[in-house]
């Protein structure tokens, strides 16, 4: 099966591993990710201003490109996923924004949010199926206690992201079970790591990452997994916890379980 794929800026640079293992694993599962030829950076954060038009056009172009190919658009980085889904929602449901964005785009047929944006995790859950994934696993990660770290961008706002229950999610936990490991349930899995504020006030990132790491460690996790390069950065570089658990991209564990990690 073929899907359009939007890697985003960080996956071409500091988070190449997140991308590489995702592609290798997808191929192993019979899914081909076709990188959009002309994607541009999503901007990292969705501009919440209703009168912010230009800053959302990169997303709209990517969505339009996938529409032209007639494919669902797969994202991987939490931030890109958040921005693309919110922009897509605005194109479908905010007529004023949609009209103005389409005026800039000057397409033959206006784009009205037709493309379906799915996160790589949704691809595993809804297209591959966690049961099938389990069958495809060659090296189950037996006995590993893993804390799924959703952060803030993957699930919120729940009304738009429509990925899982934003307060009581299970998609990453089900993923962890599928690759043979044991999920740890913990409260701060959907609390913020401090995000981009690390550039404004590092103390915020330290405080928030520490709270996340402390909670995971307290619940006896051996490792955290994430889909977000910035979460990984903050948790590994800025957490002041006594326990410094390893933080990995979920695709790395996926590749390992599928036996495609070189």
């Amino acid at each position: 099966m073929n899907f359009s794929y939007y890697p985003g800026c960080t996956l071409k640079n500091k988070a190449q591993d997140l991308d590489r293992w995702a592609r290798l694993s997808a191929e192993a599962l019979g899914i081909h990710l076709e990188e959009l030829e002309t994607w541009q950076c999503c901007g990292g954060a969705y501009s919440m201003g209703k009168d912010e038009i230009a800053s959302k056009l990169a997303s709209v172009r990517a969505l339009q490109a996938a529409k032209e190919k007639g494919q669902d658009l797969v994202t991987l980085c939490s931030a890109c996923h958040n921005v693309l889904k919110q922009a897509n929602d605005a194109m479908a449901n905010d007529p004023d924004f949609s009209l103005r964005a389409n005026n800039y785009m000057a397409l033959d047929t206006p784009y009205k949010g037709e493309t379906k944006v799915i996160h790589y995790l949704e691809l595993l859950r809804d297209v591959v199926g966690f049961d099938n994934l389990k069958k495809a696993v060659k090296n189950p990660l037996k006995g590993k206690k893993i804390a799924a770290y959703y952060g803030c961008l993957l699930l919120r706002p729940g009304k738009v992201m429509q990925m899982d229950n934003p307060e009581n999610p299970r998609i990453m936990e089900d993923f962890i079970r599928a690759i043979g490991a044991e999920p740890v349930l913990w409260a701060n899995r959907n609390e913020c790591c401090g995000g981009y504020a690390v550039l404004e006030d590092k103390a915020i990132a330290v405080k928030k990452s520490t709270a996340v790491m402390d909670n995971a460690a307290d619940q006896q996790a051996e490792m955290l997994i994430t889909a977000c390069p910035l979460c990984l950065y903050n948790l590994t570089k800025n957490s002041a916890s006594e326990t410094r658990l390893p933080v990995k991209y979920f695709t790395e564990l996926l590749a390992e379980a599928l036996g495609v990690k070189e």
Binding site: A79, P157, G195, E200, L230
Partner: protein, 127 residues
């Protein structure tokens, strides 16, 4: 000026401040609360009252993490984060009011900092 600001902020954010029932859930859930001089519930109330000037001056504008916790958990669907963003836009859209300038960035980099952090910070703090 203040009345104009208020209208502009309401328009940019799309927030209806009158939906607020003053429960304080936004401020209860805010991860940046301690770093903020004005807290999410105060943004809502102060914009409602037209007290915009103190907000425009406040460093609180740059402490919001855009984590959507207040948006998700507000029982009335007020979406305080959108209001904070609209007030911030009101400031940084003015000439010379960028909070983060490209020249500042090299000093903030380290070997592992993901690109995502830089583009997001630029989007949030400058125009």
């Amino acid at each position: 000026m203040s009345k104009y600001d208020r209208e502009q902020i309401l328009r940019t954010s799309g927030v209806n401040v009158l939906k607020c029932m003053r429960c304080g859930k936004c401020s209860a859930t805010c991860p940046s609360y301690d770093e903020m001089e004005y807290h999410p519930h105060q943004f809502v109330y102060m914009v409602e009252k037209g007290e915009i000037e103190p907000l425009l001056q406040s460093k609180s504008l740059y402490k919001c993490l855009s984590c959507f916790a207040c948006v998700e958990r507000c029982p009335r669907g007020v979406e305080p984060a959108k209001l904070v963003e609209a007030v911030r836009l009101q400031v940084i859209r003015q000439q010379g009011m960028n909070h983060l300038k490209p020249d500042d960035i090299p000093a903030l980099l380290d070997d592992d900092l993901p690109q995502q952090a830089i583009v997001t910070a630029l989007r949030k703090y400058s125009k």
